[in-house]
């Protein structure tokens, strides 16, 4: 145990923000933190981290709490530092297409504010409560990455609270800027292991004037792959181009391509028509409202039970990936599915199965680097998590990552033992 209980008196923590004793919902992987603090400023965040470093108190940074299950099981957690009170939009410079948002603001709230000027942050999250800070720290992405990139591509500046008590900045308010190291990019994917994000400045986009989504069903993988390749080779420019495969418990299989065009009205119509003639192997399904289609596509892997695995592949390997997903279902389990981006080769594999089957499936995926890589297990049962290396081996140059971790978090308090560094 890193600190004695009496060191965590709420009265001691009050100088860093609103402090309280955790309740059951605050547990992470079943581990109960000893205290929860909600700082109101970046300075309080930094002061809390500095104090926690001195006291060697392990600290987890929490935004909306929607992705806290990602990562290894913590041995113990002393503090949860929540960003709930840092939830303002600091500035929306609509003429410049940029906005500065505090870490604890939700994507949903941010986008409804930006919509007043017909602008948006073209980022997907599978979770209603997901915050900007959490989305950047995990680089969560979805169908829109095909056109707009992942959150890391949109971050142009950050304010960080460091474990030595300092509040620092990198980048700025302008889209084009190469002065100094881009620490915002370093935060991307860092999972709260290096520093706490106080606020983020982001590049925005205008909300497209028109948008249309087409959904096609396929009888088999081969026809689907052929159509996907045809659309990829064309000069059409969808903002999202996704695939959805579902092997159900009754032996039924659904295979779909989802294509979204979003630009000026005439161009949307023209591209939709062109896509219809290209995707000739599929049957166009009766369209639901567009928001429902994409909401489902983003959230389905997380609804219900089962394991969720993130993976990446070379786009041209889609046919082999589809075979591999078929193989996963064949290996056992109630259902298996894939929700993925065709153009980038990124997505989530969903498996509703017993632990032993999930474990075999993960091992199978990791044994096929010729098809998939960066296999990370994002959700699984607690028992399985204790046995699995959720991150896998591919994480970049270990020596540099360790040096960076040591430089940013010398006491090793941030997201300790949960990774990825």
């Amino acid at each position: 145990m890193s600190a004695t209980t009496d060191r965590l008196r709420m009265s001691d923590l009050a100088r860093f923000g609103a402090a309280r004793t955790p309740i059951a919902d605050d547990a992470i992987d079943g581990v109960m933190p000893r205290a929860l603090v909600e700082p109101e400023t970046g300075e309080q965040m930094a002061a809390l981290l500095a104090w926690a470093s001195t006291e060697r108190l392990t600290t987890v940074i929490r935004g909306g709490g929607t992705k806290l299950g990602w990562g290894a099981t913590p041995r113990s957690i002393d503090l949860v530092m929540a960003t709930a009170r840092l939830n303002r939009m600091v500035a929306h410079r609509h003429g410049d297409l940029t906005a500065t948002v505090q870490a604890g603001a939700t994507l949903t709230a941010t986008n409804s504010e930006l919509a007043k000027e017909q602008q948006w942050l073209p980022i997907d999250s599978a979770f209603d409560a997901a915050t900007i800070g959490g989305i950047v720290a995990t680089n969560e992405s979805g169908p829109l990455r095909s056109r707009y990139g992942t959150p890391r591509d949109l971050v142009i500046g950050v304010t960080l609270a460091m474990t030595d008590g300092r509040v620092v900045k990198s980048g700025g308010h302008v889209v084009k800027n190469v002065a100094g190291y881009d620490l915002g990019k370093l935060m991307s994917g860092s999972f709260g292991t290096l520093a706490a994000i106080v606020d983020v400045t982001l590049k925005l986009s205008p909300v497209p004037a028109a948008s249309r989504t087409l959904v096609f069903r396929y009888p088999d993988s081969e026809t689907l792959s052929q159509d996907a390749a045809r659309l990829l080779a064309s000069q059409l420019e969808p903002v999202a181009f996704d695939i959805r495969v579902h092997h159900g418990s009754g032996g039924e299989t659904h295979r779909q391509l989802l294509v979204r065009f979003a630009t000026s009205p005439e161009a949307v119509d023209a591209q939709a028509e062109a896509a219809r003639s290209l995707l000739a192997g599929g049957t166009e399904s009766i369209a639901q409202p567009e928001e429902v289609i994409w909401r489902d596509q983003t959230r389905q892997p997380w609804t219900g039970s089962g394991a969720v695995v993130r993976a990446g592949w070379l786009p041209a390997l889609l046919p082999r990936l589809l075979d591999l997903v078929d193989e996963l279902k064949g290996a056992g389990g109630r259902s298996a599915g894939l929700h993925a981006r065709v153009m980038t080769g990124a997505g989530l594999i969903h498996l509703d199965a017993d632990d032993a089957d999930v474990e075999r499936a993960v091992a199978l995926l990791r044994s096929r680097p010729d098809v998939v890589s960066n296999v990370v297990v994002l959700r699984q049962s607690a028992a399985l998590k204790a046995r699995l290396d959720v991150w896998g081996t591919a994480r970049g140059p270990a020596a540099v990552l360790q040096s960076l971790k040591k430089a940013f978090d010398p006491a090793g308090i941030l997201n300790a033992g949960r990774g990825p560094v």
Binding site: G149, N177, L183, S264, V421
Partner: protein, 482 residues
């Protein structure tokens, strides 16, 4: 440079690939920022990643600083040699290793030029998006170091958005892949950190870039305005209409004159020209181009010329891309500045620059990426007139002050390098810079990898900053320190 070190370099790279004669070294004294010069002690030209690695390891063992260099087109002295140090020239690493059309990527060595990538994939209907004006000659390794942009980065982003992975020799001599061929490598994004680190964190030996399908249609217009403010208003209206053009460029009267004298693009005689380019699916370009033409006319354009074919379009871009070099036609010398302001602040900052030029008695031409607020003032001077070169440099510095005051940046694409490191404390606090130094030390604890660039040289304990000296700009009452 001791003889044993030279011999070891010769053993690694071959005799022909090690330069140590003063005349040979002169070529490497500077990059495209010629007023900063420093002869290196030695230049090595490795022919493989393994040779780069062996040289970096040797430098590490012997404590010799090293500077990687591509084709020397950098504009901030990023490849300026270090006294007593080695320049690792990557020009021989110029092979295209793999063109993978199905997976939309090309693997090249760092000495391959930017334009060569597009040349390789154009027959398949693809291109590489970042297009710095120097794209015919600049190296992709240099692009990675500087996070190069170009005229089309408004829509397509910078080098960081188009590189999938790199192979690099880290300062400790490890040869590593940074990034991953497939998406979503877990962990902090070291690749994105490395891109734009100006050669201070690693020496890149291989680059995998993403290529894009050529857009179905491209349309370009050239609109002439009586004032920069009118042109600026047109740009605001375009963005306000929810349109992100592929490029939005502006040039002022002096830049137009210079381009006309150099490459005769047949630009209209006007105070300002605005170039707007749209690309994408034909229907989209057709529909939005009508909107843009109407906006330009409403904003007061005297003339609107729409490129009718590829040769007309090429002519417009030739005029724009030649603007820097063309300054040589209207002035004996010129100083290129690179600063950024939030786009909406452009008219105010341009007014300040105009007044500054008038007060200083120097002509300043303006060429800028109006879509993203990236300014390139070209300050004309005559080095034969005593004090004028210094005055031009001071004026250039004053412009950066305007950029910072407007909430912008001291560099949008040319980099900090050796040139602007002393401006970094104006944009960042000492704490900000300390954290950047921590990042650097995590990669390069011995501080041998392109030292003296990007971050201001830390002062030693007890060392006092140099004596206050009034600059010509201050003496003339044109600006003040802060």
């Amino acid at each position: 440079m001791n003889a044993a070190f030279v011999t070891e370099c010769q053993r690694i790279c071959g005799d022909q690939a090690v330069l140590h004669e003063p005349l040979q070294l002169m070529t490497y004294e500077c990059d495209a920022l010629p007023h900063l010069r420093q002869a290196p002690a030695l230049v090595v030209l490795p022919g493989s990643a393994a040779e780069v690695q062996a040289v970096v390891r040797l430098c590490g063992r012997e404590g010799v600083p090293f500077v990687a260099r591509g084709h020397g087109t950098g504009l901030s002295g990023g490849a300026l040699p270090v006294p007593g140090g080695v320049v690792i020239g990557l020009a021989r690493l110029n092979r295209v290793l793999d063109v993978d059309i199905p997976n939309r990527r090309v693997t090249v060595e760092p000495g391959v030029t930017n334009l060569e990538i597009t040349r390789q994939v154009a027959p398949f209907g693809f291109y590489y998006a970042p297009d710095p004006s120097s794209q015919q000659v600049c190296s992709i390794g240099g692009n990675v170091a500087e996070n190069s942009g170009g005229a089309h980065c408004l829509k397509y982003g910078f080098t960081v958005h188009h590189v999938i992975s790199v192979e690099a020799v880290l300062p400790d001599g490890e040869l590593m892949t940074i990034g991953s061929p497939a998406p979503d490598l877990p962990g902090p994004d070291l690749l994105a950190l490395l891109i734009g680190s100006e050669g201070t964190l690693a020496v890149v030996t291989k680059v995998v870039v993403r290529i894009l399908r050529k857009p179905e249609s491209v349309q370009t217009l050239l609109a002439a305005f009586d004032t920069i403010r009118e042109g600026g208003a047109a740009v605001s209206a375009i963005i306000g209409a929810g349109i992100i053009p592929a490029a939005v460029e502006m040039m002022d009267r002096l830049a137009i004159e210079a381009a006309e004298a150099a490459v005769k693009p047949n630009f209209p005689r006007a105070d300002t020209v605005l170039i707007v380019e749209l690309d994408g699916p034909a229907a989209e370009v057709r529909e939005l181009f009508r909107v843009i033409e109407a906006i330009a006319r409403r904003a007061g354009a005297k003339t609107v010329e729409v490129a009718q074919d590829e040769s007309q379009r090429a002519r417009i871009w030739k005029g724009r891309k030649a603007a820097f070099a063309a300054m040589g036609r209207v002035s004996p010398n010129y100083y290129v500045q690179d600063g950024v302001v939030p786009r909406t602040k452009l008219p105010d900052v341009l007014d300040r620059i105009r007044l500054l030029g008038e007060r200083a008695g120097l002509r300043i031409g303006n060429v800028f990426h109006a879509g993203d607020g990236n300014l390139h003032p070209l300050i004309c001077y005559d080095e034969r007139i005593p004090g004028q070169a210094e005055l031009a440099e001071e004026v250039a510095g004053e412009i950066l002050t305007y950029c910072i005051e407007a909430g912008g940046s001291i560099t949008g694409e040319h980099g900090v390098g050796a040139d602007k490191k002393d401006y970094m404390p104006r944009m960042f606090s000492q704490d900000d810079l300390d954290v950047m130094q921590k990042v650097r030390d995590a990669f390069d604890p011995k501080r041998l990898c392109n030292p003296g660039k990007v971050l201001p040289t830390p002062r030693l304990c007890g060392e006092v900053p140099g004596p206050y000296r009034q600059h010509p700009v201050e003496a003339a009452g044109l600006g003040e320190r802060f």
